[in-house]
């Protein structure tokens, strides 16, 4: 039982960066902008958070700077694929290259440096609940912040006019345009807010998971988040479940050996990626069979005013 709880705790911790990134992906894709640059954005967020942390030793500054930097870098993606109408897929890949290079170049000198990881703050009262308490309410601040972000994203997307408009941009931008809404404006907004969340997800790596710098610190989690957006059916609340499921796979990777299961560590490394492919395939089959179209209808489509659609 104790071991089981330990695994679940680790699942939440490992799932947190995925959760932030998936939420960011959900918001920008709901507005119709695919962001394949999530891996790059996470790396930018991780690098900036680490550098700011080294210099100021202030977690708030580190997270804020990571969000700001990733938001700014997302603007490049927006300019290229929204204003200059290039392929969102190619532009997103360029973003991944860009972020990987940036973090590799400026992180090179930081290899081996360490920071103090975020400490756990149990929530009074709640953390004493059996099982749920330690699993959900005995974590660092960023985990709690991710809970808030899930609620906020849900509220934003489903309960506000702004969210309704954002979702409409992903379904029928030409209708929005004819109603006098700025497609470009809303898409930029969603892309930047989404990018900031992805950056916070990246910041979680050096601030909590691995409090030292290694090249490619996110290790492909940004790409898992790209798949998780689909798995979560573009819904912030389902993103929570998806992120923790994959957090569980990542936690198992670390703890399977404790159970006495002999396995090459490299096979365990493959596990989350193989699982992602499997789950993505199953979800796609399920959607095909039920004939449901959950993907935002205008996702990835170039919109330009005055052009026939």
């Amino acid at each position: 039982m104790e071991f089981f709880i330990q695994i679940l705790i680790a699942a939440v911790v490992m799932g947190t960066p995925l959760l932030f990134a998936t939420l960011g992906g959900v918001i920008s894709e709901r507005a119709g902008v695919i962001n394949l640059g999530m891996e790059g954005l996470m790396l930018v967020g991780a690098l900036v958070a680490f550098v700011v942390m080294l210099n100021t030793e202030n977690y708030f500054y580190a997270v804020a700077a990571a969000a700001l930097a990733s938001g700014l870098v997302s603007i490049i993606h927006g300019v290229v694929c929204l204003m200059l109408r290039a392929s969102q897929i190619a532009s997103g890949l360029a973003l991944t290259f860009f972020g990987t290079g940036l973090s590799g170049l400026f992180g090179d000198k930081l290899t081996g440096e360490t920071v103090e990881p975020l400490s756990r703050i149990p929530i009074p009262g709640l953390h004493a609940i059996p099982v749920l308490g330690p699993v959900l309410f005995n974590h660092d601040v960023l985990v709690y912040f991710s809970y808030i972000c899930v609620g906020l994203s849900w509220w934003l997307l489903y309960k506000t006019r702004l969210g309704l408009n954002i979702r409409s941009m992903g379904e029928a931008p030409e209708v929005c345009d004819s109603l006098g809404l700025s497609v470009m404006g809303y898409r930029f907004f969603a892309l930047i807010v989404g990018g900031m969340l992805v950056g916070i997800g990246g910041a979680y790596f050096p601030l909590a998971l691995t409090p030292f710098w290694v090249d490619g610190i996110t290790g492909g989690r940004g790409w898992i988040a790209v798949a998780l957006v689909i798995f979560a059916f573009w819904d912030p609340v389902k993103a929570l479940g998806g992120a923790y499921l994959f957090g569980l796979a990542l936690a198992l990777e670390l703890r399977l050996q404790v159970l006495g299961i002999e396995m090459s560590p490299y096979f365990l490394k493959m596990l989350p990626f193989v699982l992602t492919i499997l789950v993505l395939t199953l979800v796609t089959i399920r959607n095909n069979r039920r004939g449901i179209q959950v993907m935002p209808a205008a996702l990835g489509k170039v919109f330009f005013r005055g052009e026939k659609h």
Binding site: V80, F98, G99, Y266, K269
Partner: protein
């Protein structure tokens, strides 16, 4: 396109060098001298160009059908896996020359099977091929690590994660005294083959038709499912050959970091070539200059090689961003039209 990209790279490098505290002119001079004025510079350009031609061609072939193969990196690795298996197990058991031929075929099969996985999932279930092909890169990399740290590690390597060196039969010949090897010739042959297939055969016509208009292709009786799997398999096989050419042409053994991002760079090579096989020759050469320059900077100034990715990102962003100007013409007009203007 390429000359514009080159100018851009020079311009960005200027700021970049200033940012990291390097005198730009001195850096340009060193790069220019090291690459174009030394014998080794030229050789290195052609050596680095070889895998980029293969991976660029692989991505371009899939892109002709509007399919994204982001998995060339993993297909490269699975190609090296399959050929190394032959080189280690059939050494000395095959008549002369057969070993390297078998390695060549196995590299294509290894890369091709790995590439056909996203192709199959896309064709059969409609699973997004971008995500699956990319995720398989991480799986392939872990598989190679498993072999190098486990069963394939050379017992006399002092615990380095490398296999034993292949016998001379399993090595591609070099040109005279240079480091340029036969892989370059194979790359050119494959560029010619793919160009021929795409524009001179019915199969190629079907691929291009499906890329331009899948509905029209379906009405014309093209089996898009089979074609998708086939194109992904072929694309993977070509990426696998990049691995073959690197291992059999340069390293003569399997080890870590054989691909310094050649598979990912293939995406940019293909994009700059507008997915045209012949264009791949030039864009591979161009990207090779970036790689070799980065190496020079690494040696001279201690800058990390990962800045190649930064440049690739900037080049791709710019190539994408300027596409609009080839499709639309800029016209400067008065904002408030006067009577008589239309």
């Amino acid at each position: 396109m390429l000359s514009a990209a080159l100018l851009l790279v020079l311009l960005i490098s200027w700021f970049f060098f200033l940012a990291v505290g390097i005198e730009p002119f001195a850096a340009y001079k060193i790069i220019g001298e090291e690459i174009f004025l030394t014998k080794y510079g030229w050789q290195d350009l052609l050596v680095k160009m070889t895998p980029l031609m293969f991976t660029g061609l692989a991505v371009a072939l899939a892109a002709q059908m509007r399919q994204w193969n982001i998995g060339a990196e993993g297909q490269f690795h699975m190609g090296t896996f399959a050929m190394t298996w032959v080189a280690l197990n059939f050494d000395g058991q095959l008549p002369g020359g057969m070993l390297i031929v078998l390695m060549f075929i196995m590299a294509m099969i290894g890369g091709g099977l790995w590439g056909s996985v996203p192709g199959y999932l896309k064709a059969r279930f409609g699973v997004n091929e971008i995500i699956t092909s990319l995720l398989l890169n991480y799986v392939a990399a872990a598989w190679i690590d498993h072999l190098l740290f486990g069963p394939w590690r050379d017992p006399v390597s002092n615990n380095f994660p490398i296999t034993r060196e292949f016998s001379p039969e399993a090595q591609l010949p070099n040109f005279g005294n240079t480091s340029i090897h036969a892989g370059l010739i194979i790359a050119f042959i494959f560029v010619a083959i793919i160009a021929w297939v795409l524009w001179k055969t019915q199969l190629g016509f079907k691929i291009r038709l499906t890329g331009d208009n899948p509905d029209a292709a379906r009405y014309a009786g093209v089996n898009i499912r089979i074609l998708t799997i086939l194109v992904f398999a072929a694309s993977g096989a070509i990426a696998g050959l990049a691995g073959f050419s690197e291992v059999a042409g340069i390293h003569y053994r399997l080890q870590q970091d054989i691909s310094i991002g050649y598979g990912y760079t293939g995406i940019i090579v293909a994009w700059l070539a507008r997915n045209h096989p012949l264009g791949v020759i030039f864009s591979a050469f161009f990207m090779s200059i970036i790689f070799v320059s980065a190496e020079v900077l690494q040696i001279e100034y201690g800058l990390p090689i990962s800045m190649v990715y930064l440049y690739q990102g900037i080049i791709l962003f710019t190539a994408l961003g300027t596409d609009i100007f080839t499709e639309y013409r800029l016209r400067i007009k008065r904002f408030w039209p006067k009577a008589g203007d239309n």
